[in-house]
Each structure stands twice: as C-alpha cells, then as structure tokens.
C-alpha cells in the first residue's frame, strides 16, 4: 500500500515513515507543509495520505484544509488526519461528503502499532477510522434529551462505538472478545433500534451510523 506523509516535525515524520515501512507500507513521499502535500498526492496518487493538522506556515488547521482540497481533487486517495487534539467539528467536515476513505486519529494512537496500522489500511481501502475520543464527543452530543441511544443496552453502545470508529465486524468481535455471530446480532439490533436500513458493506453501514450520530435531534 502506497503512503504519503505530511508532518512538520522531522522526529515524528521519520519515525512514522520507519514504522510504516516496517509494517510493509511503501512510503513514497514525506513532506512538511500543506502545499507540498497537495502536490505530492496529485503526483503520486497514493492509497493513503497521512496528514498532521497543524502545518506551516500558519500552524492552524492547514492539514484539514489540505485534506478537504484533496478529497475533491484526488477522490481515490484515502486521507488519514492525525493531530495532538481532536475536535468533533473537524471530523464532521471531513465526513461531510458522505464518502469513505477518511480517518481522524489522535497522534497518541501511533503507540498501539497494530491498531494504527490497521486504521491506515482501512482508510486506504475506502473505510473509515475515527478516534474513540471523537466518537465519545458524538455520543455526548446525541445523548442529551430522550435520544434513541437511550434504548441501547450498554453492550450495544460499546458495539456502536467501535462501529463508529470504523472497525469491521471481526475487529469488533476481537476487541470485545465475542464471536462474529454475536457481533452481527448486536449490530442488527442497533440498526433496528436506530431505524437505520441494513446494508451489505461494512463501510457503507459505518457511514450511515456516522451520519446518524452527527445529525441534530
């Protein structure tokens, strides 16, 4: 899988490149600002671009802007935005076009190498990877007054959270030490309770759940 990295701190940029190479990725370019990222992605058309939010010159939300631009110009490249902090607002912007191939993670998640690599791969394959903290924010937002989420059992809420993070059924089963069959049953229950249509593909179902969580009541 071919990867482009945009990160302004050399220490992190090189570390990330080494980590990905060790795990069988092909890091085709590593750049340090938003413009260079856009050029590199248009030139290389990688499977995934990993983008830090704070990039030169303004050190504000350059990364998000570059990511949104790339979503339009190179739709086939998945974008994984990483940052020292997460804001649900940015997640909503990244997910706004309703397509997969997008992720938003805290940089901390790099430390769990297997999980991180899995997330990069998912985004590259057109799936999603949302940080648990973003998912928690989406839940708080939804859980104010009598929300349908109140009808879910604690276990179903756990499953919904992992689903919103973008994990596959097998991944959810792994994380909760359940059988895949049990996970599928939980998911069917959740979709019924939230009145969401059942859908064949994992990715499309995740997007439906995310759209649901982002709606205002």
């Amino acid at each position: 899988m071919r990867v482009v990295i945009a990160e302004d701190l050399a220490l992190l940029r090189d570390g990330l490149a080494r980590l990905l190479r060790d795990n069988g990725f092909d890091v085709v370019d590593a750049v340090w600002d938003g413009d260079a990222l856009v050029h590199a992605v248009i030139r290389e058309k990688p499977d995934v671009a990993i983008v830090d939010i704070r990039l030169p010159p303004s050190f504000r939300d350059e990364g998000v802007r570059a990511a949104l631009e790339l979503r339009e110009r190179v739709p086939e490249t998945g974008i994984l935005v990483v940052s020292q902090y997460v804001e649900q607002a940015y997640a909503s912007e990244l997910l706004a076009d309703g397509r997969g191939g997008v992720g938003y993670l805290l940089k901390d998640r790099v430390m769990d190498v297997d999980d991180f690599v899995d997330a990069v791969r998912r985004v590259g394959e057109g799936g999603t990877a949302l940080d648990p903290e973003v998912v928690a924010q989406l839940f708080t937002r939804r859980r104010r007054a009598d929300s349908p989420l109140d009808r879910l059992t604690p276990r179903e809420l756990e499953v919904l959270g992992l689903m919103a993070e973008g994990r596959s059924n097998a991944g959810i089963a792994d994380a909760l030490t359940l059988t895949v069959g049990a996970v599928e049953k939980h998911i069917a229950n959740i979709l019924t309770k939230l009145r969401l249509p059942p859908s064949g593909s994992d990715h499309r179902r995740v997007l439906a759940v995310l759209t649901y969580l982002q709606q205002d009541h």
């Binding site: 504000r60 939300d61 902090y85 430390m111």
Partner: protein, 539 residues
C-alpha cells in the same frame, strides 16, 4: 352533514376563543395606552425646553414599554412570541433623552398601541351584535322594549327566534373571520412589537449615514417651512414679523441634533469636554437652550433679563456634570491600576498552576516511563516475558502523559480558538457538555485575540460551574457585540445562588477587568443564573 360541522367548527375551536380574548385585551390596553399617550406627550411637550423633559420622556418610554410588553404577553394567545424592549439604554442624562427619541422600537410600540384598539374594535362589534341577536328571545320575553340594535323591530316570538338564528349565523361567521383577523394581528405584533434583538448590530459607518440623513432631512424641512411662512407673511401684508417664532423653534429643533452629531463625529470637541460625550452634548445643548431663551427675551420686551435664572441653572448643571466626569476618570485610572495588578497576580498564579501540573503529571510519568525502559533494557536477555510487561506499561504511561499534556494545553489556550475563532471554539465546548444548550453567536468580524480568549474562558468556566453546582436542565449562550463591546452571556435555569467571589470566576474577573471589561454574575436563590462578560473590542 360534514359541510355543516365544518361550518360550525370554529365555534368550538380553542383558537377562536383565544383570538377573541386577545382582542378584548387589545381593546382594554388600547384605551389605557390612548390615555397614557395623550397625557404623557402633552406634559412632555409642555416641558420640552426644560431639562425635566428627559425624565418625562424616560417615564413615558417605560409606560409604553410596559403596555407593549403586556400586549406581547397576551399575543402568545394567538401563537406569537415576541419580546418588546422595555427601556432605551443610554449613559448620561441628555443622551438617554435623545436615545429615547431616536429609539425605533419606542415609536413602533406606540404605533401598535394605537393601531391595536381599532383593530380589536371590528371583531368586538361583530361579536357583540351577534350575541345580542342570539339572545333576542330572552330580551323579547323579559324586556319590554321591542326595538333591538336600534333598527330591528321585533313583534312576535317567531321573529325573535328567527333573529336568534340569524345571530347564530353571524356568530359563526365572526368566528370564521377571527382566523384571518388573528393572522393580521399576529403580523402586526411581530412587525411592531418585536425587540430589535437583544444584541443590535450596526457598523459605525451605517450609524453615521443614518444620522447624517436624519439631520439633512430635518434641516431641509425646516428651511422649506420657514420659507413658506415668510412668503405667507409677505402675502398677508407684512405686519408684525411673526415668522420669527417658528424660525426660532426650528433653529432649536435642528440645532440640538446638529450639535449631538458634531460631538459624536468630532474628537476635538470631546477632548475639550474631558473625553466625555455626554458632557460635550450637555454643554452644547445648554448653550443652544440659553441662546434660545436670550433670543425670546430679545424679541419680546427685552426688559428685565429673566433668562439669567435658567441659564444659571444650566451652568450649575454643567459644572456638576464636569466634576462628576473628572472624578470618574480618576476612579477609572485607579481601577485600571488595581486590575492590572490583579491580572499580573492572576497570571502568576496561573503559571504556578501550570508548573505544578507539569511537575506532578507529565514529568512524573516520563520519569516512570524512562525507568520502565531502563529496566526493560536490563532484562532484555534474561527475562523476555518481563520485558514485554514493562514495555506495555511504558506505553500506557506515555499515553497518559500525552492525555495530561493535551488537557493542560487546552486549559492554556484551546487550539480550535486560534484555528477557527470564538464561535466554533464555544460550539466545541457545548458539544462536550451533556446538557441541552442553545448557542447564538453573532460576530461580524473576529475580535482581538485577548478578547476572544477571555470570552472563551468565561463561557468555559461558566459551563464548568453549571455542571458542578447548578443542577440545571438547559443552558443558553449568547455572544454578540453591542456598540463595539463584545458581550458573552451564559444563562442557566439551575438553582442559582452563585457568586463571583466563591468560584473560579475570580481569576476570570481579573482577566476581564484587565481588558477594561466587566464581568457580572446575577444569581438569585432559585435561579436563574446569568453570567455576563462585557469586553470592549475597540481601544
């Protein structure tokens, strides 16, 4: 059958009765308003050339505002939710008077009070006629006169019953008409009673253009009126030059807004008046008033110089005001010095807190992490299993250190505030907050960073306090600008009883005051609690 029941439907619809009740209230309040306006304006005009006019105007404003509020409250009967302004804000004596006269909502409320009465009269007449017709048999039976509504003569019980049927028909028709009537009344109430929003927005350039236009129109109309009067005077035989009186009055009427305009636009005039708008306006108005009185004296007898007394009063009033302005300026300098000292110590305390957090949190965790890694290195060859456990622990430690650093950074300066500004940053705060929260942000441009940060932390602290103590069920946040001042307001419906002194708001108050702003907390026992920060955006 269906048609019949549909025809009579409005008779047992709650809507009809609510509209009728609203009409009755309009009728009553309209009568009261009529009396108030006649009396109020007569008295105010009688005192128009004395300073007494200002309290009279303000009193009239409050009366009109009160009646308008009563009308708006009853307008909820017809499903209209408007909140009229009750008073006109303004600082200083004269500027409050002028602000009242310039206040569009004041005039619109008067218009509604006057229009409401005839508006309510129409359905009232219809309904009362219908009721009288409906009860004709009773009148016929127990009352001796056989003449109803002035022109219908009833001579037999049969005619009385027929009249009663006609009354039912008329009543139903009126009930049908009450639907469109209440829509019309609702439209009027929305158009005339709605406040201009608590936070009004107009750029200085727009305000200036409006003032210039008003003044030009005043001057033009006055000139035309004077010219017309002089022509009339010439055509009618050129006797005593009576147009001097209207000329004098119009010069007075144009002169005062002209002076106000000059003061608002001219920094030199303000500098001469110790930097106070109000004082400069008062000096000018007093001068124009004195000139007016002297002119009246000159035109009339020119005998005993009676204007000396009112002029003396005006001079004393100006001197008192000047003394007050000077004292206030000195007080402000003291407050500034105190708040700067407060800000410095607040910053000092904040830095100490950050140092402590770093020392006890992230630093300690990194030490532990290093220790774990060292031990892992030692055991690498002898005990690979232990190494795995140590490494897992090290990774957890690194995660926790990062989490703490992130929270610390957010507490110093939230990244989204720099990236996107106050609105999105506060929106992100409300997302993290589990209570239902409404947020209204109305900022035409980004305020200075220090103001943004202070406003953000006021809202953040208020939300934290609400979560901790208030036991509230909903929160309203409003952020906007009023006359170049950023206003951030957080209102909750909790149990109240909060104070600035006993909470984390003390440090924030120092922060707000260092920017020459104000932080106010009103929180009666039983709620609601209102935290309001006012931060000047222009220096």
């Amino acid at each position: 059958m269906k048609l019949v029941s549909r025809f009579f439907a409005p008779l047992w619809s709650g809507k009809t009765y609510r509209a009728a009740a609203y009409g009755l209230v309009l009728l009553a309040l309209g009568s009261a308003a009529f009396a108030l306006l006649i009396a109020g304006w007569t008295v105010a005009l009688c005192f128009a050339i004395t300073p007494l006019v200002v309290p009279l105007l303000i009193g009239l404003r409050v009366g009109v505002g009160g009646l308008a509020t009563a009308e708006a409250a009853t307008a909820q009967l017809i499903g209209v939710d408007v909140r009229p302004r009750i008073s006109t804000p303004g600082t200083g004596f004269w500027s409050r008077g002028f602000a009242t006269l310039k206040d569009g909502s004041f005039w619109r409320q008067q218009a509604h009070l006057l229009v409401g009465w005839p508006l309510a009269l129409a359905p009232f007449c219809l309904i009362s006629s219908a009721v009288e017709l409906l009860t004709l048999p009773a009148w016929y039976r127990w009352d001796d006169s056989h003449d109803f509504l002035g022109f219908i003569e009833i001579n037999s019980p049969r005619e009385a019953v027929l009249g009663s049927l006609a009354g039912l028909l008329l009543l139903t028709l009126s009930a049908h008409l009450l639907g469109p009537w209440s829509r019309l009344a609702g439209w009027l109430a929305r158009a005339l009673l709605a406040g201009d929003g608590q936070l009004t927005m107009r750029s200085p350039a727009e305000r200036r253009a409006i003032r210039v236009r008003a003044l030009t129109i005043d001057a033009l109309v006055s000139t035309i009126v004077v010219a017309a009067l002089v022509v009339i005077w010439m055509l009618t035989g050129e006797g005593y030059f009576w147009p001097v009186w209207p000329m004098l009055a119009l010069a007075f009427v144009v002169g005062i807004p002209g002076w106000v305009f000059l003061v608002l636009e001219n920094p030199t005039v303000r500098r001469l008046a110790l930097g106070s708008h109000a004082l400069a306006i008062q000096v000018g108005v007093s001068a124009i008033l004195s000139g007016f009185l002297v002119a009246v004296w000159a035109i009339t007898t020119a005998g005993y110089f009676w204007p000396a007394w009112p002029i003396l009063c005006l001079v004393v009033a100006v001197l008192v005001h000047a003394a007050v302005v000077r004292a206030r300026r000195e007080h402000r300098i003291e407050v500034l010095e105190a708040s700067r000292a407060g800000a410095v110590s607040a910053q000092e305390a904040e830095l100490r807190r950050i140092e402590r957090d770093l020392h006890d949190g992230a630093q300690a965790r990194l030490v532990a992490l290093g220790m774990n890694l060292g031990m892992a290195e030692q055991k690498l060859k002898t005990d690979p299993e232990a190494v795995q456990a140590l490494l897992a622990e090290a990774r957890r430690g690194a995660s926790e250190a990062l989490l703490e650093l992130r929270d610390l950074a957010r507490g110093i300066h939230p990244p989204i505030l720099t990236d996107r500004g106050l609105g999105p940053a506060v929106a992100a705060l409300t997302e993290r907050n589990p209570l239902p929260t409404s947020l209204r942000v109305d900022l035409p441009r980004r305020p200075p960073p220090a103001v943004e940060t202070a406003a953000y932390f006021v809202v953040a602290e208020a939300l934290a306090n609400i979560a901790k103590h208030a036991d509230a069920s909903r929160i309203d946040i409003r952020i906007g600008t009023e006359n170049g001042t950023l206003v951030a307001e957080v209102v909750d419906d909790g149990r109240g009883g909060a104070s600035v002194a006993g909470s984390g708001l003390t440090g924030l108050r120092q922060r707000v005051e260092a920017l020459d702003g104000r932080l106010r907390v009103t929180s009666p026992d039983g709620g609601p609690t209102n935290v309001r920060a006012e931060l000047p955006c222009e220096s």
